[in-house]
């Protein structure tokens, strides 16, 4: 049933005015009356006039809101005027004839409820506040009673509707809205929790595939890097080991060479020889013989009167006496030698050997074997001037 022609609404308006005056006489603005009218508006109670109005109104609403694509229920433009004309009777019916104040419309014949003087002329914007009967929700209707409405005359119809919507009424619309809003709140919270907990859940399949490719590639790169670094570590470690071994060998070598060359003080088992002079002075060659015998017997370190004997040591006869390595040394001569005593002592005592020649010259020589002989004197090693290592 289409009700877009302007004649119909006006017919219905007159119809309603008649019914209104009839209903108004049976005392109005009690809640019971409002409720009753609410129910008639809802079609819950059999009411031929009411049913027609409701049917018309809901049809009109469906038409107009089906036409609109703008918002869920936003209606703009021309359809507003049609709606208004449809709603006017409805509004009047549910309001029980009170808030006809807002009803004055340019497109409609203003429905002025006789007992209420329209305090508000609602003009201008069809879209904005200029709405007819402030039946916001057709089932919610019946809010402020007439005295209230006229007392708050300056308030806009939109605000009135809003306030009326806030009042809790157990109507179908409110319960349905409550259900839908509950569902919305539930889904909203679920989605919030999901997106906070798990970042990946919101991605599409293609995005996830890309992400996976990226991660796989990066992972293989990192594995290669790990292999390379492990190899490097192994090399460095072995290098360090060989370096340590080389260093150790060098240190041992240095010790050995130091002892033999007289650079380092030495200690070990050996012998001491005390040589004293008799009437005849002991010659340098006699002393040198002792040194040679000791070397031939394998002495590793030799010291005379605090002078370390090395390969380049020499004995010289001078006017002041015997000069050993540039130092004038006088009798008695105290020798120390580190080596195998069992070899050195018999070597010195060979008949016709070093000791024999000293005794033959009137001197004396005493050899004592000791477990530990300390030779503390050292000489500074001189770089060879002529010789150099052969490659």
């Amino acid at each position: 049933m289409t009700r877009n022609s302007p004649s119909d609404p006006q017919d219905r308006e007159e119809e309603l005015l008649d019914s209104l005056s009839a209903s108004r006489e049976s005392e109005l603005p009690t809640d019971a009356a409002h409720l009753q009218q609410d129910e008639t508006a809802l079609g819950l109670v059999d009411d031929p006039v009411g049913e027609a109005q409701v049917a018309a109104a809901s049809d009109a609403e469906l038409e107009t809101t089906d036409q609109d694509d703008n918002a869920g229920q936003g209606v703009v433009g021309k359809s507003d005027t049609v709606l208004e004309s449809e709603q006017a009777p409805r509004g009047v019916a549910t309001e029980g004839g009170l808030a006809g104040d807002e009803v004055a419309e340019p497109a409609n014949t203003p429905i002025v409820v006789p007992e209420e003087v329209p305090a508000e002329g609602v003009a201008a914007g069809v879209e904005t506040s200029g709405e007819p009967a402030k039946s916001d929700e057709q089932s919610d209707g019946a809010d402020e009673s007439s005295p209230k409405a006229s007392a708050k005359a300056p308030m806009s119809p939109a605000k009135k509707r809003l306030i009326s919507a806030l009042r809790p009424r157990a109507t179908r619309a409110q319960i349905l809205s409550a259900l839908l809003l509950g569902l919305l709140g539930f889904a909203l919270v679920a989605q919030l929790q999901l997106s906070q907990k798990d970042e990946l859940s919101g991605l599409r399949q293609s995005e996830l595939v890309n992400l996976l490719d990226d991660v796989t590639r990066r992972s293989s790169e990192l594995e290669d890097e790990t292999l390379r670094l492990n190899g490097l570590v192994g090399e460095l470690e072995s290098g360090t080991n060989s370096q340590l071994a080389a260093q150790q060998a060098a240190e041992e070598n240095a010790a050995t060479q130091g002892i033999l060359s007289g650079r380092l003080p030495a200690e070990g088992p050996g012998i001491t020889i005390g040589v004293t002079e008799g009437e005849k002075a002991i010659s340098a060659s006699a002393l040198f013989n002792i040194l040679e015998e000791l070397r031939n017997a394998g002495a590793e370190a030799v010291e005379v009167n605090g002078l370390r004997m090395i390969t380049s040591s020499y004995f010289t006869d001078t006017d002041q006496g015997v000069v050993i390595d540039g130092v004038v040394v006088a009798a008695p001569y105290q020798w120390k030698a580190i080596g195998d005593a069992n070899t050195m002592q018999p070597a010195l005592e060979i008949p016709g050997g070093a000791m024999a020649s000293i005794r033959g010259n009137g001197g004396e020589g005493n050899i004592s074997v000791l477990d530990t002989v300390e030779i503390k004197s050292v000489v500074e090693v001189r770089e060879p001037e002529f010789a150099r290592p052969m490659d």
């Binding site: 609403e61 806030l166 809790p168 409110q174 809205s177 839908l180």
Partner: protein, 110 residues
């Protein structure tokens, strides 16, 4: 008032129950929520315009959610999932803004 209570109950239920969204629904839930928000704002605007009808609200709510979900699903199957989903969100955002502007004009006359 009752719808607001319903909203609060829904949010509280979500916080308390901590539902786990099934995996096949996970990509569509955010779009569905935005579509439902759009229907909600449309309902608010209709309320302030004086043309609110609960049946229309219900139908628009459900149809928004279903149509948005269908579009995103179709986009995924066609291979333009990202773009279509972005487009849907943009359009819903535009509608929410225009409804919010109308509501603002009603309430603040500005």
């Amino acid at each position: 008032m009752i719808p607001i209570i319903g909203l609060v109950i829904g949010v509280a239920a979500g916080l308390l129950l901590e539902p786990t969204v099934p995996v096949y629904l996970q990509p569509y839930l955010p779009i569905a929520v935005v579509a439902a928000l759009d229907a909600l704002f449309g309902g608010l605007r209709a309320l302030l315009d004086g043309i609110f009808d609960d049946r229309v609200f219900l139908v628009s709510f459900l149809s928004n959610v279903i149509v948005a979900g269908l579009i995103v699903f179709l986009g995924d199957q066609l291979g333009v999932g990202n773009q279509l989903s972005t487009g849907v969100v943009v359009v819903l955002g535009i509608r929410i803004f225009s409804n919010a502007a109308a509501i603002r004009r009603h309430i603040f006359k500005a």
